[in-house]
């Protein structure tokens, strides 16, 4: 399968990339890892007239802790997350998620920025970012702005990234205290998008009281969603089996899955409930 014809540029700097975005107008698209965009172009679900390949721009791939944040450059590949020591020692939610995203070849190319900027509720990073309370840095000719992940996803394939802008960094409040995180999704086979997925982040104080909870859900709503009632049920509690069961029940009630080839609505709600319970327990284990 061959995409419709398009032009191609490979800028060496962000400034050059912004200028190209302005020059080519609304039908230009950024090419990052290309592992969502190129398949869509081959199927002719997408037909941008110009691709601006940002792979040659230096300085967009890094994982570092700085100023109280974990900062991840937009062009950081899935495989870099999988192999990072900072990630595997303190932010296991990414190790969980990366392992379940696509397959090794796709993870060699797919970027975290592209995974989020694609704006697809079936992708795994959006829910992870919601659980982690991430901020997204968006840059353009007029400078940089920061958008909370809660305001980032506007609809199917639409996000806060406006024309002429590039997502440049993801910032996550650094892990501190008794902090634990976990992600799991049910998939029919390796490389499949989630039937349902749940991301959980928990912080507890020395007495075992939950001081913070973040829960994000994958592919059970039109846009990536946060299970707010579930989070509220946990904060302030001792995370007893009853508290956890209540949070799981709320997540299953509040999501909006559609019946499709991956399962019917009831089945998906059931999965959300089971995975939520398991991921809260796993995050709690890791917080200890």
């Amino acid at each position: 399968m061959i995409a419709e014809p398009f032009g191609y540029s490979s800028p060496q700097s962000l400034d050059e990339a912004y200028a190209l975005l302005h020059e080519h107008g609304d039908d230009a698209k950024i090419l990052a890892g290309g592992h969502s965009l190129i398949p869509m172009m081959k199927l002719r679900f997408a037909a941008p007239t110009h691709l601006i390949d940002i792979n040659k721009i230096p300085g967009l791939s890094y994982i570092k802790e700085e100023d109280g944040f974990l900062k991840i450059g937009a062009m950081t590949r899935e495989v870099d997350l999988e192999e990072s020591d900072i990630i595997s020692s303190r932010y296991q939610i990414f190790t969980d998620a990366s392992k379940l995203i696509a397959d090794p070849q796709v993870r060699n190319f797919g970027t975290i920025g592209g995974n989020i900027a694609h704006g697809d509720a079936a992708n795994d990073h959006p829910a992870v970012m919601m659980a982690l309370d991430a901020e997204v840095e968006i840059s353009g000719q007029d400078g940089k702005r920061s958008v909370s992940i809660n305001e980032f996803f506007h609809g199917f394939y639409t996000t806060a990234v406006q024309h002429g802008e590039i997502l440049t960094e993801i910032r996550i409040p650094a892990a501190s205290g008794h902090f634990g995180s976990a992600y799991h999704k049910a998939e029919r086979k390796v490389g499949d998008y989630a039937t349902a997925g749940v991301a959980v982040v928990i912080r507890v104080d020395d007495g075992g009281i939950c001081t913070k909870a973040g829960i994000g859900l994958t592919n059970v709503n039109a846009v990536p969603m946060r299970a707010i009632r579930s989070e509220e049920a946990l904060v302030g509690s001792m995370l007893s089996a009853g508290d956890i069961a209540k949070a799981a029940q709320y997540a299953a009630e509040d999501c909006n899955p559609s019946s499709d080839l991956r399962g019917d609505e009831d089945y998906k709600r059931h999965l959300v409930s089971v995975i939520t319970k398991r991921m809260i327990n796993r995050a709690l284990e890791r917080a200890k």
Partner: protein, 166 residues
């Protein structure tokens, strides 16, 4: 049209391509190296796997223009004057292929896997080749072939190549 210059199996190649040309087509059609296969053409099966600067990649999901300036290894580049690559020898001795359609892709994926993890467990091998589909073998002999290559590449005692019936 854009000019693309890249090294394939150590030899420099140049071609004029349209930006929509896929890397797998450049390799197969412009350069007549047909060892890299096209199976699904939808980024799923791994038959088109090659190494780009050492990283295993699905060449049906990469534009030829993106590969400008890179070094590529395809199945044609595995053997040397001294003989087969250990992974090829492993596949041969362990009957790890039937029709052979998936084989080039699995072997190149396995080369990167062994590069990063010279002594993988069975589970790590199975997980490591999870982006490669084989419709014939049932994977068991592929796993044995990779274990055999791992031993060979580390100079360890070679495992038996007797068939295992399960």
């Amino acid at each position: 049209m854009k000019t693309v210059t890249l090294k394939i199996n150590g030899t420099e190649h140049t071609a004029e391509v349209s930006p929509r040309t896929l890397l797998v087509h450049l390799i197969r059609e412009n350069f007549s190296m047909t060892g890299t296969h096209i199976g699904c053409d939808t980024s799923s099966c791994g038959a088109c796997t090659i190494l780009i600067d050492g990283k295993s990649a699905k060449s049906c999901t990469i534009l030829a223009v993106q590969a400008d300036g890179t070094e590529i290894i395809t199945v044609e580049g595995l053997a040397t004057a001294e003989g087969l690559h250990p992974i090829q020898e492993g596949f041969h001795l362990n009957h790890a292929l039937h029709c052979g359609f998936c084989t080039a892709g699995v072997m190149l994926r396995a080369v990167e896997l062994l590069e990063k993890n010279p002594n993988p467990t069975e589970e790590e091998i199975r997980w490591g080749i999870s982006g490669n589909l084989c419709r014939c073998t049932g994977y068991n002999n592929i796993v044995k072939a990779i274990q055999w290559a791992s031993a060979k590449m580390q100079g360890k005692e070679l495992p038996s190549t007797e068939p295992v019936f399960v």
